[in-house]
């Protein structure tokens, strides 16, 4: 276990170094600069030049990179150009928003996706299978921003049950938080349900066709017991892998959903940073997302051993 963790941490550091290098390179390949984005069309070249100097954009690229790495290694993600605050502060402020949204969405995706997939496998080639899999395909095909707008029209505009957007922090008002997060979380989660359901069905089908299931059947164990006690734990490894991927996708998908529902999360921060070429925020944001992805992967790997004792982490 210890050697596994050491190896994972070492590889994570390497991945983060590569991600930050690539994000730096990509960002600096993007045309346009912060000074031009910040000023309007009637700005004088002198104003643009003065702003570029003030922002340090006129320094040589290797120097800017060296400064950036130096700061990051000492735990400082730098200062946002436009927000007048630290990048770390801006990210941490929005982290609870995006995390609560993505976690809620993930819970919905798992709660609906796994049972639907298992039921489809159990009733293989019968009507529940066809119903769940057609619905899953439909869910996978629907763009989340469109689904979001439909949800708003139905539940906020027509029925008036839920707010159309905005965000209330859980700490301020738990009920208010639930009301603001439920529509975007369902929008995000529903699109992923199909993904999880299809994988759960395939994995479950494979498990149900194995010898030990046949033996359990022969022993006269109940169908439900076989599915839940023998089938599901054995089918969980591929499902967990997909859940890990979905968790990452939810963080990415939140970028668009946060725009549609006007939610002040990390997604909106990054979109805003792209539009205004606020490079420190963009670099910090990408690095931060990479860390989150790595953590999710690590958690999934650890869970493999939990659900299947045959997996050895050493």
């Amino acid at each position: 276990m210890a050697s596994f963790m050491i190896r994972r941490i070492a590889s994570a550091i390497l991945v983060l170094a590569l991600v930050s290098l690539m994000s730096f390179a990509l960002i600096w390949l993007v045309p346009g600069d912060t000074a031009a984005a910040f000023l309007d069309a009637s700005a004088t070249p002198e104003q643009v030049a003065a702003l570029r100097t003030a922002l340090g954009l006129d320094k040589a690229l290797p120097l800017q990179m060296a400064e950036w790495y130096g700061r990051v290694l000492s735990g400082d993600l730098g200062q946002s150009v436009l927000l007048n605050r630290s990048v770390a502060g801006a990210l941490l402020e929005r982290l609870p928003v995006t995390l609560s949204l993505a976690t809620f969405a993930l819970a919905i995706a798992i709660a609906l996706g796994v049972p639907a997939g298992v039921a489809a496998a159990v009733f293989h080639n019968r009507w529940p299978d066809q119903l769940f899999m057609t619905t899953a395909l439909l869910g996978l095909s629907v763009p989340d921003f469109w689904l979001g707008l439909v949800m708003v029209l139905v539940f906020a505009v027509s029925l008036g049950w839920l707010p159309s957007g905005g965000f209330t922090a859980f700490g301020t008002d738990p009920l208010g938080w639930l009301k603001t997060v439920i529509l975007p979380a369902f929008t995000l989660g529903l699109v992923q349900v199909g993904f999880i359901a299809r994988m759960a069905r395939a994995s479950m089908l494979e498990t149900l066709n194995q010898d030990f299931v046949r033996t359990a059947n022969a022993k006269g164990l109940s169908r439900a017991y076989i599915v839940l006690r023998h089938g599901l734990p054995n089918a969980m490894i591929p499902i967990l892998t997909v859940i890990g991927i979905v968790a990452g996708a939810l963080l990415g998908g939140a970028v668009i959903i946060e725009q549609v529902f006007s939610i002040p999360g990390i997604g909106r921060l990054i979109v805003g940073a792209i539009a205004s070429r606020d490079f420190p925020v963009l670099q910090g944001g990408l690095l931060f997302l990479a860390v989150v992805y790595l953590l999710i992967n690590l958690i999934v790997d650890l869970l493999y051993a939990v659900v299947d004792p045959r997996v050895r982490l050493s």
Partner: protein, 512 residues
């Protein structure tokens, strides 16, 4: 019996009248949430010229002079001004008894510190470039000395572009973006949640300008009735509409034509047209062929049908107008109009034949705003008819503006001028001085702009602006396509709203 009946009728009439009066009476209280499309980059009013910031900061901060309904500068925190005979010294008596939101009373030191700060870090330094010195010459008197005569000085002081907001001296000592948001305006700052909202509350200690008789542009009498005003940042147009329909917001800063039409027939909403909000300009790059050829530019100008451009780019809300200023502006002129919107392909072909353009591609750089892309597309189709090939290059604003600020890589560039024509002739001319926008110096414009700056006689200044406008058309320095507007939609309960360049939340109240 008869007596009773008369009395009864009279009473009923009085009751009815009082009910009607009650229905339209101003009343304090209520909260309004405004959906705005962009988040303000900063609430430090002096350091940003973003519309999103103006929407908020002009409720919080005030200036020495402000623009009235027709964009004329009138005193706001100043009582007036005395200008020395040589036109270089301005003495401003400052209004007494004006309170900042922190309770401090406004005095000359606050004004001096605020203007000095603007001279260092203001977003439109050109507004204060003529100032030589700013001194407190009394507890409530400020004297500004100019290096040279500047006829537009009061226009500059009152510009809402990046306002010369007056802060308490203690705040004015701080760096850009580090201030506490404390002004003298009718609303005080409550909170700013990044990517979410800015909340303001009525400032009950507000001291209105005694000379103001009613709502008047950014000046006049600013009576706040609402308890709070919240600006919520909602980039998605559909989300703003949904929020308005579901009662989450009470005001949508900008909506598209079809939405305005649909909600216009719903008694729960009021549609407000802000026309003109901007003018659509199509720039030429004079530093590169073929944009450096006057006949080429004139050919393009002659060929274009501006009606087509505006009706597609800004369907439902546009105005055909040759002037580079807005209707109603003191210097409004139609000089040069004969060359506007000619849509004459024969003349265009003749002019093109005289030019050095012998085929080849031209590049139209355009940002991804739909109306700008439409403008480029209509121009591209039109110019095809006279044999000019236009490549449209679309990118986001930072990319496009970076190219457009240089003399290479583009022939045409389009975007709106919103605040410049509102500010007046000097601001409209400024983007063409020193070849700033067209990338090659134009001595005629440079001279006209310099003369306008030093000419104190209004009739002569008007003549100078007319010469500028004629020059723009005679040389096709750049083209104006037309004026565009925006639709604003509010709940019908918001009473006495009058559209202006920002959604002013003074003089309005909520009907219960």
């Amino acid at each position: 019996m008869k007596k009773h009946s008369i009395l009864g009728h009279a009473l009923a009439a009085i009751m009815l009248l009082s009910m009607q009066a009650g229905a339209s009476a101003q009343q304090k209280g209520g909260d309004v949430v405004i959906g705005i499309s962009q988040a303000p980059p900063s609430l430090d009013a002096q350091i940003t010229s973003a519309q999103a910031s103006r929407n908020v900061t002009l409720h919080v901060f005030e200036t020495l002079y402000a623009r009235d309904e027709n964009a004329k500068p009138v005193p706001e925190l100043a009582e007036g001004v005395t200008i020395s005979p040589d036109g270089k010294t301005y003495v401003f008596p400052i209004r007494k008894g004006v309170k900042f939101h922190n309770g401090k009373e406004l005095d000359a030191n606050d004004v001096v510190a605020s203007l000095e700060r603007y001279r260092k870090i203001g977003a439109s330094l050109a507004l204060v470039s003529a100032i030589d010195s700013i001194k407190a010459t009394g507890p409530h008197e400020v004297t500004i000395t100019l290096k040279q005569v500047q006829a537009t000085f009061l226009d500059n002081l009152s510009s809402p572009r990046a306002p010369l907001a007056i802060y308490p001296a203690s705040e004015a000592a701080k760096e850009a973006g580090k201030i506490e948001i404390i002004g003298t305006g009718p609303y005080k700052f409550v909170e700013y949640k990044p990517d979410s909202h800015v909340k303001l509350a009525r400032f009950d200690g507000y001291v209105p300008n005694p000379n103001g008789t009613g709502r008047d542009g950014f000046a006049g009498k600013k009576e706040a009735f609402l308890d709070t005003v919240t600006f919520r940042f909602m980039p998605e147009g559909g989300a703003r509409t949904a929020a308005l329909e579901s009662g989450q917001i009470q005001f949508n800063e900008t909506a598209d034509g079809p939405t305005a039409k649909r909600l216009g027939s719903d008694p729960r909403f009021s549609i407000h047209k802000v026309v003109p909000f901007g003018l659509q300009v199509i720039k030429f790059n004079h530093a590169e062929a073929p944009g450096n050829d006057k006949n080429f530019r004139l050919a393009v100008q002659a060929a274009l049908n501006m009606d087509d451009i505006m009706s597609i780019a800004y369907s439902d809300i546009n105005q055909m107008d040759p002037s580079w200023l807005y209707p109603g502006a003191p210097f409004y002129s139609t000089a040069g109009a004969a060359k506007y919107n000619k849509a004459d392909l024969a003349e265009a072909k003749a002019l093109l034949a005289k030019s050095s353009y012998k085929g080849g591609k031209t590049t139209f750089i355009v940002d991804n705003l739909r109306a700008n892309v439409d403008t480029a597309t209509v121009l591209q189709e039109r110019l095809k008819e006279i044999g000019i090939t236009v490549d449209i290059s679309i990118a986001d604003w930072p990319t496009v503006s970076k190219i457009g600020f240089t003399p290479q890589g583009w022939t045409f560039w389009t975007h709106g001028f919103g605040i410049e024509p509102f500010e007046g002739p000097a601001s409209v001319m400024a983007p063409w001085v020193n070849g700033l926008s067209q990338q090659a110096k134009d001595p005629v414009i440079d001279e006209l702009a310099a003369s306008l700056g030093s000419e104190m006689d209004e009739a002569k200044r008007k003549a100078l602006f007319e010469r500028f406008q004629t020059h723009m058309y005679d040389n096709a320095v750049a083209m104006k396509a037309g004026n565009y507007g925006v639709f604003q939609i509010s709940t019908a309960k918001l009473k006495n709203f009058k559209p202006y360049r920002i959604p002013r939340m003074w003089g309005v109240w909520l009907e219960r």
